[in-house]
Amino acid sequence: MTQSPATPPPLYAPREPIFPRRVKGTYRTLKWWIMGVTLAIYYLTPWIRWDRGPNLPDQAVLVDLAGRRFYFLWIEIWPHEFYFVAGLLIMAGLGLFLFTSALGRVWCGYTCPQTVWTDLFILVERWIEGDRNARVRLWNAEWSFTKFRLRMTKWIVWFFIALATGGAWVFYFADAPTLARDLVTFDAPLVAYSTILILTATTFVFGGFMREQVCNYMCPWPRIQAAMMDESTLTVAYRHWRGEPRGKHMKAEDADQRGDCIDCMACVNVCPAGIDIRDGQQMECITCALCIDACDEVMERIGKPRGLIDYLALSDEEAETNGAPPRPIWQHVLRPRTMLYTAMWSLIGVALVYALFIRSDIDLTVEPVRNPQFVTLSDGSVRNAYTLRIRNLTAEPREFRVMLTSEDILRIDVESDGAVANHVTVPANETLQARVYVIARSQDPAADAETTDLRLWVEDVETDDRAGVATIFNGKG
């Protein structure tokens, strides 16, 4: 279009304020419980203690970035085992696929931090400023002392929730009691304060002011969900065939021809996303199910069956419109698609648990020195050098014997701080770097061969546990 329209569309649109009304019901109760449990997990986890002995931290869940360790209960992850974290992330992704294909945006509606904290902020808002009607009145009112007092009270409470949220995050990265004391006495590192500041600000703004805009404009999940859902996915929907034509019920008038929807707007008034579920599935809908509770309340009051708004699949909606019975819930949940997701999810889970159980508490990596590939000594023998990294994944110092096995004759010589007769001691929970020389005498075949296979081993002197790595000896050939 080359010509501009007579009335150009507005460049920007301000946010339409939303004032969700209080609602009671099954899903609201469920959501209160989930909110309580998830918030408790978030705030309390860093304070759980877990005894690992004198050499290791006693925090149950600790991401020790400086020490490059991740502690989770009895599991300790080293950087070279990051695949465990990658596996968990893949499981989280597949789990999200599974839940979305079965139950739509159930993550968004119940457990997403944005939803949980927004819910908490709305709870505070309602507690201080009153329910929907009072809040609408306050919004439209001129600035007065009362309005100022209510707003300030609300913002202060929000601020403290935000501060607690940002504050709890940093405890996952350091010993919580020590850090808490340092934070109060201003001895904590700057990064702790800046992290708290940023997370406090984002919590305050996202939970208090941005709310559904975070879901609509910032989060990619609402867009991805379309690809994850199909016509059998259970999601919050309006029984169009039952509700329409909607309208106010008047006893004398054609009540028989009207649908069950009395157009009371209860579902719209409780919606935290500010949409009308009766318009069908929408990008903005986070399937929080509060409209179900609101509508059920009304249906009961006017003596109609519950479930005008309900968890419903598109295929059900179609079937019911044509008079067929809806499919039972288990048929929606147990489908090849969801079972495939479950299988993949379980497979990775089992693989991770398996990897966890078979993993050794010794780890050896061998880096052959290749500049130069070999050194000729004055008696004509040929020497190769290797850098060994020996990781002691236990809480006790361990003494290791360094050995080699090969089909040819080779001699080993360990050069490292404190190495005695090819024995090295690795401190608890640390990596020791040792240089190892392998020597072939001039008359041995390995000296003149191009390469000779060998395997370097470390063996615990006490337990005989060992780890070996195959490598190559370079000769003159």
Partner: protein, 291 residues
């Protein structure tokens, strides 16, 4: 423009931009206000940034920015910080006697780690990054157990500090092999070379070597020893082992005997700090050949 020309989307009742891909049209929805503000904010930030910090390219340089920030100055500051942090240990290393410095002394560890950097920056150009030397150019391999001037900490430190055959340091290690092309005939040189091949355990012509032994004892043994065992006081290489500075084959040996060699190493005492000399000495000593 009349309204009928507008392309209104039926479902949403929104105007479209007129862009269409495979029948999918782009709705012309207004931007969220907060988004637009954020966008303007980033523009303002960007402008302020280019004024405050070095940014706009000019012909020979760039605008310096009002804050006077420079990455080069920051790096210099960081280096000064690190130097200050290491001052104590580097002073300790500079004052230390290497032969009595314990391997678990912090100054020793600092020396080995720092010596690697000193080596890479100053020595690797000739001796190679891996310190294996370059035989074709006569740069010695520092990893093996053969040393021209000695491989103890003290001897290595002396060599690093004063260098070899340089004009700048009167205490430089010095020795000079005559060019025997002026002294012996080609045949005599050939016989001497066969003898050197013999004492180093290589393939040789026994008859020539027998004659060569005479020339060797007469001309070479004063420095290289009767059996070719060399002499570290004069930097005379050992000839009866498997290690050669320039090469141990017949052709290279002939060249060496005829024209002689004159390898030079700078005196690093003039260029490096005291602790750097000691650091690189410690580093070299633990590479596998130290005595």
């Amino acid at each position: 423009m009349a309204d009928e020309n507008k392309d209104i989307d039926q479902v949403t009742g929104t105007d479209t931009t007129g862009h269409e891909w495979d029948g999918i049209k782009e709705l012309n929805n207004p931007l969220p206000r907060w988004w637009l503000w954020t966008f303007y904010g980033t523009v303002a930030w960007g402008l302020a940034y280019t004024i405050a910090y070095p940014a706009w390219p000019l012909v020979n340089s760039a605008t310096q920015g009002l804050l006077g920030y420079s990455t080069r100055a920051e790096v210099a500051e960081r280096i000064a910080e690190v130097d200050a942090r290491n001052a104590e240990v580097s002073e300790r290393l500079a004052a230390a006697d290497l032969s009595t410095l314990a391997p678990d002394d912090p100054a020793h560890r600092f020396g080995v780690a720092g010596g690697a950097s000193v080596f890479l920056a100053n020595c690797s150009q000739c001796h190679g990054q891996g310190a294996a030397g370059v035989q074709a150019a006569g740069y010695p391999n520092l990893l093996d157990d053969a040393w021209l001037w000695g491989g103890t900490l003290e001897e290595i430190e002396y060599t690093v500090r004063h260098g070899i055959r340089n004009e700048t340091d009167p205490d430089a290690r010095w020795s000079e092999m005559p060019a025997f092309g002026d002294i012996l005939s080609d045949e005599e040189i050939g016989q001497t070379v066969e003898y050197v091949l013999a004492i180093s355990g290589q393939e040789h012509d026994a008859a020539m070597a027998e004659q060569g032994m005479v020339w060797f004892e007469e001309q070479c043994s004063a420095c290289h020893g009767v059996n070719g065992e060399g002499d570290r006081l004069q930097g005379a290489p050992t000839l009866n082992d498997a290690i050669w500075l320039y090469g141990g084959d017949r052709e290279t040996l002939t060249e060496t005997v005829t024209y002689s060699r004159f390898g030079v190493m700078p005196a690093w005492g003039e260029r490096l700090d005291e602790y750097e000399i000691k650091a690189v000495t410690l580093y070299l000593h633990q590479l596998g050949g130290g005595e």
